[in-house]
């Protein structure tokens, strides 16, 4: 019986094939077909809404009725009849966001890919790196993220939290692998731009050259739009350039990836601030029809303590990082206090160390365990001799003659948990003390600077001082204006801004094409299904997570040289092989259940399959117990578990990891390959006492029947 396929996936394939082969040549009809495909892909990836079905029907009717070329009309009729015949299936996809046949693979990407705010096909590029195809890996990443190198260095890697390998030992070093591939591809000249669609003559203006703005520029340029990016700073990169210190992200990395975007024809206008150097109305006058606001959250919160505004040595952390990124190397003082416990505080403190400050103290009002900074940031700061004063709250900045001399503080103790689960710091009476400092650097959070945006009177703002958008389509309250990144979310991550920029490009394209916007953010799209990397169970088990090489402490303290030195080629290729390929194995556990409960063998110890409560995993146990019956492989719905006869052996593998291999026995009469001896012993034990056996002879079913028939033939009927 032929395997049934999902009509939604069938239509996606058919439309894509017709368009790829350029069988529709009339521009208007082709555009309708493209729009149907786009809507159909929404349905196949769980992004559709109630208006998708009528919109597809409407477009298909146009294709069938208004196009004179027979190819278009024929395609329109086929789509129309498919929509009518399988209406329930389409509506079920839209309502349940599930493909019962599992044919719409986008509905079930791997957990790491699902976790990525940019939706990168992680198992795909990790496999390509394992195959040594770094350029292809970068090409795959850039389908969802135009900054593989930047993210390979500074991504917060939510993917690694969801990595199934982390349930076995440690997660795959996904971020480091991405950085490795991007660097290698750039060095080898295989980091290339895809081909740009022909110019469609429509102009889009992007305000802000940070990760969100640049990402939107990249994907819009690829779609053929004329994109102009307006940037207040003299360079592109936004917070990647002026908020992340160079020892974490070298400027050359940003410049190289921005140059790739510029190569697509994107125009940059630097030193141009909205509201000061230009306005939305002036830009509309230049012919821009859509706008994307991605100005970030560049303004710092105030501490609200006396003395904060009285001395030039009180420099907010964002301003300090910006100045240093733009080339300033003056030390803010010999003794510096950084106020705050977040990542920006760590960056500011580590930057001060590199500027030659003799004593840098982070002042934080809660305990070490409550610090919101990433643990690795905190550890690296400690390694570089940054000091910490926990349970301390600054109350006043003192000084004279225009110079800071003292930071007056109180000790705190943590009170009981409040409704939000936090233990509030309570000042201890009489615990006041002073720290002798030359500079104070507050790092207590950022907010959006509304300058320039306040002229848009119809633009809705949230109570968090961020732009209100429909989070699915990123549309603001002003027609034709979209927004994403920190200006919408508040201070967030680079990869979230990139994801927002990509979605904004798609939304702006829909805005121009006048097709419905999605009703929820996109589900990541699986880009391809790659073959497995083969290795033994023992190797898979014992490969340890690749260790990042780090710059020596002394050099870290005095230069802005990159601290993380990258993976070596050998360790990167080995690291890629640790991936468990959750894009193929959906961790349903059927193989384990069948082996243990139905066959009674219990050869598969795959405790990592249980995400919340992982048990012990040992892939090597299979070689000791597995009888190679094939029940697991026969019941695997995704093809992850395979049993094959290779070179006289029967081999069982899970996503390329060889779990067991045993020599085959052959039929002694005809030579047909049979199972291994261990399997035959298992069967023999189970069938003991049932019928006659063939003695020492090993025969296939056909030869066994022949032998039995011959034996019966020799029995003479009784004589009457």
């Amino acid at each position: 019986m032929e395997k049934s396929t999902c009509p939604v996936a069938d239509h996606v394939r058919e439309l894509a094939a017709v368009l790829e082969e350029e069988r529709i040549t009339v521009a208007r009809c082709r555009q309708w077909a493209v729009d149907i495909l786009r809507l159909m892909k929404d349905v196949a990836s769980g992004r559709g809404g109630p208006e998708h079905f009528p919109a597809m029907t409407d477009l298909a009717e146009k294709l069938a009725g208004e196009c004179e070329d027979p190819m278009s009309a024929d395609l329109g009729n086929r789509v129309l009849s498919g929509l009518r015949e399988h209406k329930e299936v389409f509506l079920s996809h839209l309502e349940t966001l599930n493909c019962p046949l599992g044919d719409c693979i986008e509905l079930s990407p791997a957990p790491c890919q699902m976790a990525c705010p940019a939706g990168i096909d992680v198992p795909g590029y990790v496999t390509l790196i394992g195959q040594g195809r770094d350029g292809d890996a970068v090409e795959l990443i850039r389908q969802d993220n135009p900054f593989p190198w930047v993210c390979g260095l500074v991504c917060t890697h939510p993917c690694e939290f969801m990595c199934a390998r982390g349930r076995m030992d440690k997660p795959v070093a996904i971020k480091d692998l991405k950085g490795f591939a991007a660097e290698r591809a750039m060095s080898a000249g295989s980091y290339r731009n895809p081909e740009r669609a022909p110019d469609n003559g429509r102009k889009v203006c992007i305000i802000g050259a940070g990760p969100a703005g640049l990402t939107a520029a990249y994907y819009l340029a690829l779609k053929g739009y004329r994109v102009t990016v307006i940037e207040a700073l003299p360079m592109a990169g936004g917070m990647m350039m002026v908020g992340i210190p160079r020892y974490r992200l070298p400027r050359e990395v940003i410049d190289r990836e921005v140059a790739m975007i510029e190569d697509l024809g994107v125009e940059f206008r630097y030193n141009t601030r909205l509201g000061k150097d230009t306005t939305i109305d002036a830009l509309r006058g230049e012919g821009f029809e859509a706008f994307f606001i991605a100005v970030g959250a560049q303004s710092s919160y105030k501490m609200g303590i006396p003395g904060e505004d009285d001395f030039p040595q009180v420099i907010d952390a964002i301003d300090l990082l910006r100045r240093v990124a733009l080339g300033e190397r003056h030390s803010p003082g010999k003794r510096v206090a950084v106020i705050g416990g977040g990542n920006v505080a760590m960056d500011a403190a580590r930057t001060c160390i590199r500027l030659g400050c003799e004593e840098v103290t982070v002042v934080y009002r809660r305990s070490r365990a409550d610090m919101p900074a990433n643990p690795e940031e905190l550890e690296q700061a400690e390694e570089e001799d940054v000091r910490f004063s926990f349970l301390t709250v600054p109350v006043r900045i003192g000084g004279g003659d225009g110079k800071v001399t003292t930071l007056h503080c109180l000790r705190t103790e943590l009170g009981p948990e409040d409704a939000s689960g936090r233990r509030r710091p309570i000042p201890v009476e009489g615990s006041d003390f002073s720290m002798q400092v030359d500079a104070v650097i507050p790092a207590i959070g950022q907010t959006v600077d509304k300058t320039g945006l306040d002229s848009l009177s119809d633009l809705n703002w949230s109570r968090r001082n961020t732009i209100r958008v429909d989070r699915a389509s990123l549309e603001t309250s002003v027609h034709g204006i979209f927004a994403a990144g920190d200006v919408v979310l508040g201070p967030a991550t680079v990869v979230e801004a990139i994801g927002g920029g990509k979605r904004a490009a798609e939304a702006i394209d829909r805005f121009f094409e006048e097709i419905p916007q999605p009703k929820m953010p996109p589900v990541p799209v699986r880009r391809q299904r790659l073959g497995f990397l083969e290795l033994s169970a023992s190797t898979k088990m014992t490969l340890a997570r690749a260790e990042m090489q780090m710059l020596g402490y002394d050099r870290r303290r005095i230069t802005f040289q990159q601290v993380e030195l990258g993976l070596s080629e050998n360790s990167a290729r080995a690291e890629a092989k640790r991936c468990l390929r959750c894009d193929i194995c959906v961790r349903c556990g059927t193989c384990v259940d069948i082996c243990r409960d139905k066959m009674g063998v219990d050869a598969l110890h795959l405790g990592y399959l249980n995400f919340d409560r992982p048990g012990p995993t040992d892939l090597r146990v299979a070689a000791e117990r597995c009888i190679l019956c094939g029940a697991c492989a026969a019941n695997c719905s995704t093809g992850a578990m395979r049993m094959e006869d290779i070179g006289g052996e029967r081999v069982l593998s899970l996503c390329g990891t060889v779990l067991n291999r045993l020599e085959l026995e052959h039929c002694m009469e005809c030579g047909t390959a049979l199972g291994p001896a261990r399997y035959h012993d298992f069967i023999r034990k189970r069938t003991e006492g049932v019928g006659t056996d063939t003695g020492e002879k090993i025969l296939c079913m056909a030869c066994a029947r022949k032998a039995a028939a011959k034996a019966h033939g020799e029995i003479l009927p009784p004589v009457a």
Partner: protein, 70 residues
């Protein structure tokens, strides 16, 4: 800090915060992992990033989340 990186959480109720969007209704009851907490100032009002099992990564107001483990 209530929601730390790597902690398992559940979306246990709708939030009354303005940042709650209609599509988030379908996440009620979903489990996930905190992947980017408020990494700046430990603010109960900040939106935090959570990766939901099988549902992708989203930013939520903290009042709709509950820790599954202490």
């Amino acid at each position: 800090m209530a929601f730390k990186r790597g902690k398992r959480v559940v979306v246990h109720k709708k939030s009354r915060d303005e940042s709650w969007q209609p599509y988030m209704d379908r996440f009620l009851g979903a489990h996930g992992i905190v992947t980017d907490p408020d990494a700046t100032k430990n603010d109960p009002d900040a939106l935090i990033e959570v990766t939901l099992d099988g549902e992708g990564t989203h930013r939520f107001p903290q009042d709709c989340l509950r820790l599954l483990e202490k």
